[in-house]
């Protein structure tokens, strides 16, 4: 097995921790090298989740970039931006986990913005309603977020722009490729009937609704081209 195959097998749960370490030993690589390789594969969050001993489905024992308090506010925010109704929402998709993973990597430049915005939002909730944002009722949260979105919450600096940023990232977290930590169990794709980025479609499927359950990646392994 190549390192890529070993890492993929582990992340996809086809290999347990002990087998993973043994396979790495056979390849003569350290776990650290394998994990930096996972980072190159584009799944840093999943890799970190895996090292922490938690399942590789994207669920994390603790947030990576945000503090637990900040993460709690973000989860509550995400749950109202993309609410759970009779269908799954941001909570089931793991959208807040997606954002946290992104803030620990490619979106690190947004981390100070999140820190400040989440803290200010929580303080505003406490000072006006007397409870932390996450403790408010859905209706109270919605009313507060409507004000935030409309730019009426001056206690949150750049509140309107902050709301749009979080909204954009939460939507990414619902519909992203699952290796980024969101769209858990492909709930986002199921919601909209997206079959996943398929390898391609043959004649019977072209210009028809594809009534197939979504899959994250399919198709034959890519051929190699090097110049």
């Amino acid at each position: 097995m190549s390192m890529e195959e070993v890492v993929r097998a582990y992340l996809q749960g086809r290999m347990d921790r002990r087998e993973f370490i043994r396979a790495l030993g056979a390849l003569g690589v350290t776990a650290g090298a394998a994990l930096s390789y996972v980072h190159v594969l584009g799944a840093p969050g999943v890799a970190l989740a895996a090292t922490a001993g938690s399942p590789a489905s994207g669920a994390l024992a603790s947030p990576l970039a945000l503090t637990s308090e900040e993460f709690g506010v973000l989860q509550a925010l995400a749950a109202r931006i993309f609410p759970t109704t009779d269908t799954p929402g941001a909570t089931e998709a793991g959208a807040a986990e997606y954002v946290d993973l992104a803030l620990a990597g490619p979106y690190a430049s947004f981390l100070p913005r999140y820190r400040q915005g989440l803290a200010e939002l929580d303080r505003y909730a406490a000072s006006t309603i007397g409870a932390s944002f996450a403790a408010l009722s859905d209706a109270q949260q919605d009313a507060l977020l409507e004000d935030l979105e409309a730019g009426r919450v001056t206690a949150v600096e750049g509140g309107q722009e902050f709301f749009r940023l979080v909204q954009r990232h939460v939507v990414e977290g619902v519909f992203c490729e699952p290796q980024y930590g969101g769209n858990r169990d492909l709930v986002g794709w199921r919601l909209v009937g997206f079959p996943g980025q398929r390898y391609g479609y043959s004649d019977p499927y072209i210009n028809r609704v594809v009534e197939a359950p979504p899959i994250a990646v399919d198709g034959p392994p890519p051929i190699s081209t090097r110049v």
């Binding site: 072209i206 198709g219 051929i223």
Partner: protein
């Protein structure tokens, strides 16, 4: 500063144009040094079907955040950094992830001044062209027609010749029939016909069938497969290499001539000229950060 040997031709950038020129010049027996500031890439690097990577985070353009390019539209403006809409930074360039709309210019496009300014059309339409310079091209459609044809037959363009009622004359049709029309295109086409318009299929730089250029075109270019209709073109490299791109068509041929020295991760920072204004020396950073002339 290290002094490198002399070449017949230096190319700066190995993308759509640089890739084609490298093949032509190398095939003519000239010694070519081709600089590319980005790396060589493989299919695994550009063709994962991953919207977060390629579309949301625009990974192909990510480099520009670390190394912004500056831009100005007038000589007296101050050039400022741009962080978006940058070219790809790798061998193969932006044509690797283009949308592959491959229409030729119309004959009228070459004569904008004659058709729209000198004719009084812009004035009658009330267009304010203050501060804009408008002129005809020094060449016309007929001058370019043979080269359009070569591009279409060497890189592979699918379409139906003569469909566009405003299109210029063509010596030859397209090497491949059009791609299948999508459901939206079919609706749009039917609506246009009802309104009395003449919809036509836009030529596309995507193989509608497996394709290898026949003689008299360059038969050294390898065969590439047909489109699999995955639905993800723009911003993505093509995971079956069905899209017309120089990376896997003309660039390998250029390298195989043995006359093209392709230097990746080599960024040219200065072009020096002689007294006559001819470019004679380029200065570049090699992958280790050494500066060469």
């Amino acid at each position: 500063m290290r002094a490198d040997p002399v070449a017949d031709v230096c190319l700066i950038g190995v993308g759509a144009v640089g890739g084609i020129l490298a093949k032509e010049l190398g095939s003519a027996g000239l010694q070519v040094v081709a600089f590319e500031r980005g790396p060589a890439v493989t299919l695994e690097d550009y063709a994962a079907r991953d919207a977060i990577k390629w579309v949301t985070r625009v990974a192909l353009h990510e480099w520009v955040r670390h190394e912004p390019i500056t831009y100005r539209s007038q000589p007296d403006q101050r050039a400022t950094p741009r962080y978006t809409t940058s070219p790809t930074n790798s061998v193969g360039g932006a044509i690797l992830h283009w949308t592959a709309q491959a229409a030729r210019f119309l004959p009228a496009d070459f004569k904008v001044f004659t058709n729209e300014i000198a004719s009084g059309l812009a004035e009658r339409a009330g267009a304010d062209i203050t501060g804009h310079e408008v002129s005809d091209w020094p060449i016309g459609y007929d001058d370019l027609e043979p080269y359009y044809e070569r591009f279409e037959w060497e890189l592979g363009v699918s379409g139906r010749g003569g469909d566009n009622p405003f299109g210029g004359p063509r010596r030859r049709g397209f090497p491949m029939p059009p791609l299948r029309a999508g459901a939206k295109s079919q609706l749009f086409e039917a609506a246009c016909r009802r309104l009395g318009y003449h919809p036509f299929v836009n030529p596309s730089g995507i193989n509608s069938q497996a394709y290898r250029p026949p003689a008299p075109y360059d038969t050294r270019i390898p065969e590439r497969p047909a489109c699999v209709y995955c639905g993800h073109c723009n911003n993505y490299g093509c995971h079956v290499n069905a899209k017309a791109a120089t990376l896997y068509s003309v660039i390998p041929v250029a390298v195989a001539t043995g006359n093209v020295d392709l230097r990746t991760n080599s960024k040219v920072v200065r072009i020096s000229t002689d007294d006559a204004g001819r470019a004679t020396v380029v200065t570049y950073f090699d992958p280790e950060g050494q500066i060469h002339e």
